[in-house]
């Protein structure tokens, strides 16, 4: 699995995301966070893994982990269609802008988030939001759950095949379910 930016020119400069080589590591990091949040972009309904829309994997993960979901773009409707109620929905820029505000009390008003998980935004948009958070949200850690390495995150999965990606989601979901 490669830890080069998926889009070649999206190089990092002085910092580079720590690679998550095993899904168990991601689970441990999410569990360690006090106020994680999962931000799901517009590719969630378009991309399929093993003939199943990505969003279905994400709903399974959200249900198992109890991490609150913020849907960007028009994704809220896709969640609702599947019977899942996200904690909130807003534009990707809005959630990025709120996460750099240390006074923002989170999507539920119960306090600032300390870990933001990103998945399924257009690669370049996600990269830019991650770099904004890297520079202007010093108390926030970020993680990409995409199958494309994101150097501007704090932690990112490497570039990987769809099969590996599916396996990772299943392992993560089962690890969280096992705790329940």
């Amino acid at each position: 699995m490669s830890c080069e930016p998926w889009q070649c020119a999206e190089i990092s400069a002085t910092k580079k995301a720590n690679a998550i080589q095993k899904p168990e590591v991601a689970v441990a990091l999410i569990k360690k966070a006090k106020r994680p949040i999962l931000i799901v972009g517009s590719n969630a309904a378009e991309r399929c893994i093993e003939d199943k829309p990505l969003i279905d994997f994400l709903i399974d993960l959200a249900n198992a982990s109890k991490v609150q979901v913020v849907a960007t773009a028009h994704m809220v409707g896709e969640f609702l269609k599947r019977g899942y109620q996200p904690a909130g929905f807003m534009s990707a820029m809005d959630i990025g802008n709120r996460l750099v505000d240390p006074d923002w009390q989170g999507i539920d008003g119960k306090g600032p988030h300390d870990l933001a998980l990103f998945v399924a935004l257009p690669y370049y948009m996600e990269a830019l939001i991650l770099t904004g958070l890297m520079h202007f949200a010093p108390d926030l850690k970020t993680m990409s759950l995409d199958n494309m390495y994101h150097p501007h995150a704090s932690w990112s999965f490497p570039n990987m095949t769809l099969e590996e990606w599916a396996k990772n989601f299943k392992v993560m979901t089962s690890k969280f379910e096992g705790e329940q």
Partner: protein, 770 residues
Amino acid sequence: MKTNTGLIKNFEISVGKIVDDSWTEPMGPTPMPTMSTLRDWDMKLLNRYKPFYMPDCDLCCLCTFGKCDLTGGKRGACGIDMASQSSRIVLLACCIGAATHTAHTRHMLHYLVEKYGSRYPLDIGGLNIKVEAPITRLVCGIKPETLGDLEEVLDYAEKEITQCLAAAHTGQEGNNLDFESKAFHVGMIDHIGMEIGDIAQVSTLGFPKAEPEAPLAAMGIGTVDTTKPVIMAIGHNVIPSVGIIDYMKDNDLAEKLEVVGLCCTAHDITRYFNRGRIIGPISWQLRFIRGGFADVVVLDEQCVRTDAFDEARRVHAPVIAASEKNCMGFKNRTNDPVDEIVADLVSGKAPGVLILDPEKVGEVAVKVARQVAPIRKKFKNLPELEEIKKQSKTCTHCNMCQRSCPQDLKIPKAIKAAAEGSMTELNDLYESCIGCGRCEEACPVKLSIHSFIMKAGEKQMMEEKNFCRVGRGAVQDVEIRNVGSPIVLGEIPGILAVVGCSNYPKGGKDVYDICREFANRRYIVVTSGCAAMTAGSYKNAEGKTLYEEFPGEFAAGGVLNVGSCVANSHIAGAAIKVANIFAKRPLRGNYEEIADYIYNRVGAVGLAWGAYSQKAAAIAAGFWRLGVPVLVGPHGAKYRRMLLGREDKKEDWEVYDARTGDKVNVGPVPEHLFQTVETKEEAMVTIAKLCLRPNDTWKGRSIKLSHYVDLHKRLYGILPQDLHLFVRTMADVPPTLKDEFTKILEEKDWKETVIPDPTLLPRMIRKMKE
């Protein structure tokens, strides 16, 4: 000088300019503002719409102290921090954009003054237009009447661009909001540069003069008669193309050749010549050159691929560079005899030449095209399907094509299918491909991937036969009078300006869909530039393009193309004219009051779905200062800075009621000043929301909310959750949605408020409360 009283030796009188102040409107407070004059106004906006920075680079590399690492709150060797550095990059982009439009205008104006004289009268709409240059009047306090008058305005613009650029030097400005204010300033100057450019060319070249029923121009590769010699012009400065067309007309060749254009030059060719053709937006460049359709390629300025010459050489098409800004490394043949230049281009002895005389460009291009066309083999420049299959088998499956593609297109899968004999997957990429060619640059086995995609999509490409309404230029004063009231009161739900370039995330159909949606909803839809072309590139169920389906008036349900990039000034001009002509607000040197009026009352939104350039950044900055929000498509995130309001911060949304001086909370309207949206669906919902203004009457607010709710429910599958922020009295609630609103208003503990006479400017308060 000798008089009755004596003799004065060595006495000279020089008359620089006679000031004709027949314009009786008194001068306002800020004529010819410098970059700090309107700073207070900028700060009012910037404190409401705070920048959200997304730095593309962790470093500053602009001086030799660097590179400096600005991560983790560190400052560079000069003391700059990342917020300031990010805004400095924004300023630089806007300076480049403003300089580009203004330099284009200067070049064109210089030529037009030489040709027509400085006393040539301006006429951009005859009796239908009294306010000929609303931006120039507003910013400079000048009412230009002749071509010569425009030069003074450009002198001012050039000075201000230089000042703003200087502020970006190391060790000058150090505060991020001041950088942003300067970006606003240079954006405003950009609008002046554009306005001067378009009114100069409209006045002199016989372009449509504010004509709602400007004719339809044929558009698309399929409309070009390739049995005739084809001259293709790329860029933005129409003057060399005018030289070509004039030569054709003067020599009875108007029907004998095809003159086609790409990018904004195409718009202006069709404004000048009724047989001109638009090929398409900037992203069609590689397609058309590489497809071998052009017998001669003429390059002027802006948005020209810098490898256009290499591409043209591949298909044996001679190239003429016609701009000092883009010499392409060619020998300057401006002073050589025409026949020698023609002979060298036809024989291939000189595959490209630089000619800086537009008339000579015309004669050379026509003569070369006529001689070259019979000997060039058209349509044989794309690989055959068997060749694609064979070459695709050499693919190493490294994925570098996809990883280099801005759209992340699944090229490896398509190449694999091609190797197995199926071209379907390659054909599927045709619509989304933006024609950048990065896939080929990255390919280790040098597959001509873009050519493969073109060949697979060849049928579709040759069937591109559409219409674009010829750029009409300005909006008539009478049109403004007709719509001023319904716009300001909110009964026309909004003005949507769909502008900019063609760096679309998933092809151009999104642009068409958005325009059509809002035209059907009786918004006023204005288009320009490449977006105007894309809007006309798709058809409805009856086979009609957008410009055939909707009228070209500035009226509810109209879809009007103002023209090329520089014609964007007419969109800002229309907003300014609403304040001046409809509301009778004084215009002359009175920027702040007019911007305050537009911000609070005119529900206009710009959408640059495929914006890519620094010029687009400058255009957007000019709209921000006027208080008009701008949306960009997902690639627009790469402008690296958004200006976002916070609907959850109630304290941010207070205005003065000009009637009483009371502070009134009007809610987050408009919510953002500059925002990236991710999908077409999100764009539509956001457009409807950003058309809300504090001044909306209850009836207007009700209409606007009904569109917002309807789009939100249809595209998001849920009622908006922020409705309580936009309802001031129950009369604002659309009657058919009363139950749904009531439920939300109760849940959110909504309280009724007043509809103020809104302003951000204390000096506009008419009577302070005792």
